[in-house]
Subunit: 256 residues, 2 copies
């Protein structure tokens, strides 16, 4: 059984890419077969895995528009058990090209159906918008993780995102299930962090991951070396947090 | 003469809204007449000015689609000299509705032409994408400020943004001029911040604002009280930084 998980939030800079890359790596370290899909034209998840976007001859763009079989665009990363379906700037074009297609929401779903079964987890990094690329991710996924930065502005976007998840569930993807809200960049010295945590736990109770990702400068340094946090500094606070998250996630899912 | 300035960067969470709100307030404190336009469906600039999005009966959405004259949607803020053209969730619909219109890039430009002359500065807060709302802002503007968070991932998106600015300049808005890159969330203790600053200054030389906005927790606290930084804590590092930026901006522009 393959769990396809979208990492989504239209608010920018909340830790979607950092979560998608490092949770994938942590799951691979736990012996799971993982595919990371980069659905953001910025291609941050691709460079976070150490790949140069300019060197790519194929990407998720080609697989989406069915120019090539998806397997051809998938590459192995430096992490054993973790593969990547990379993105580059071409992906911007996909949003415009897909908008006139019939069944425009299902292109990624169709793409991933061809390879599901080969991976235990597929994580999809989404761009900061609720456009067609994110809708494709939410249609292909059976679960969603919502990273939430512990800041005031980030709280504001939550109700809009939850409305979109309900719309998707009632239309193109009835099996879509929110796995949980993940608090990120939590700073123990900062009042706002504590206020956001209290408010989120009050409203969402058991739909909040117990694991909280603290602000940790090592997490923002790692991608500049093209490494995930375990390759960069496996004993730091950030690495332990994503390791704990991986264990919590595995505990939530089926044991398939 | 009205200077219309888009605050844009498709990378999320880099300080676009924080800059648009607090630079507008700083310019108003310098005695300028300022209009802040919220072009992000998240409506963060609107709540950063202390307004409840749910209470709005009209918004930039209605003015864009010409349901009402733009003056009717503009409201005064608690800051003397600073008005707001607010946004709410309806704005998500505009992106879809405009895509099939002829001259879809010019809707905001047409809207602002009716009121230009009444303001010395118009600042437009953009969403974290290069979709039609941002394209409308870049078509209506004569200048662009690009906030850049001092982090690795934020650097990656810069070349894509500059390509888009060139495309806009060569097509729908020949007078578009980049005022400068604004370094935000600079943390003196963090190596990455210094590396990003060196690299940006080397590549962009005089197209980087001398003013740097340091990371300052007061800037992230202010919006939770519905206040700009000058109403919340006028002596803090964040307030002084945006005051300095306003003076630098006024020095760059014509004395019109
Ligand atoms: N826990 C953390 N501690 C410190 N820095 C972090 C943490 N998580 C993420 N960052 C840094 O914060 C910035 C924003 O994170 P990231 O790019 O992962 O967010 P995002 O939601 O993917 O952004 P976008 O909306 O642009 O896709 C990055 O520079 C990243 O390195
Ligand atoms: N200089 C700063 N110091 C500390 N916190 C800051 C600073 N500038 C912005 N912030 C905080 O960082 C977060 C991101 O900033 P902001 O929302 O302004 O970015 P944005 O680019 O508008 O995001 P989006 O891409 O979602 O529109 C906010 O919670 C804000 O309060
Ligand atoms: Mg990202
Ligand atoms: Mg914003």
């Amino acid at each position: 059984m393959t769990e396809i998980i979208a990492v989504a939030n239209q608010k920018g800079g909340v830790g979607k890419t950092t979560t998608a890359v490092n949770l994938s790596a942590a799951l691979a370290l736990e012996g799971q077969r993982v595919l990371l899909v980069d659905m953001d034209p910025q291609g941050n998840a691709t460079s976070g895995c150490g790949l140069e976007k300019e060197d790519l001859t194929t990407s998720v763009y080609d697989a989406l528009l069915e120019n090539i079989p998806v397997r051809q665009a998938i590459i192995a990363t430096s992490m054993k058990g973790m593969d990547l379906l990379p993105a580059n700037g071409n992906l911007i074009g996909a949003e415009v090209e897909l908008v006139h297609e019939i069944g425009r929401e299902y292109f990624l779903k169709r793409c991933l159906e061809r390879i599901s079964g080969e991976y235990r987890y597929v994580l999809i990094d989404c761009p900061p918008s609720l456009g067609l690329l994110t809708v494709n991710a939410l249609t292909a996924a059976n679960e969603v993780i919502v990273p939430l930065q512990c800041e005031f502005y980030a709280m504001e976007g939550l109700s809009q995102l939850l409305r979109t998840l309900r719309l998707i569930k009632n239309s193109v993807n009835p099996r879509l299930h929110m796995l949980g809200i993940l608090l990120t960049m939590f700073d123990v010295r900062n009042n706002i962090s504590h206020q956001v945590r209290e408010e989120v736990c009050r409203h969402f109770r058991d739909r909040v991951f117990r694991t909280v990702i603290n602000r940790n400068v090592r997490l923002s340094e790692a991608p500049s070396f093209g490494k995930n946090i375990f390759e960069y500094d496996e004993r730091c606070v950030g690495a332990l947090a994503y390791q704990t998250l991986a264990k919590e996630l595995m505990g939530k899912g089926g044991n398939g």
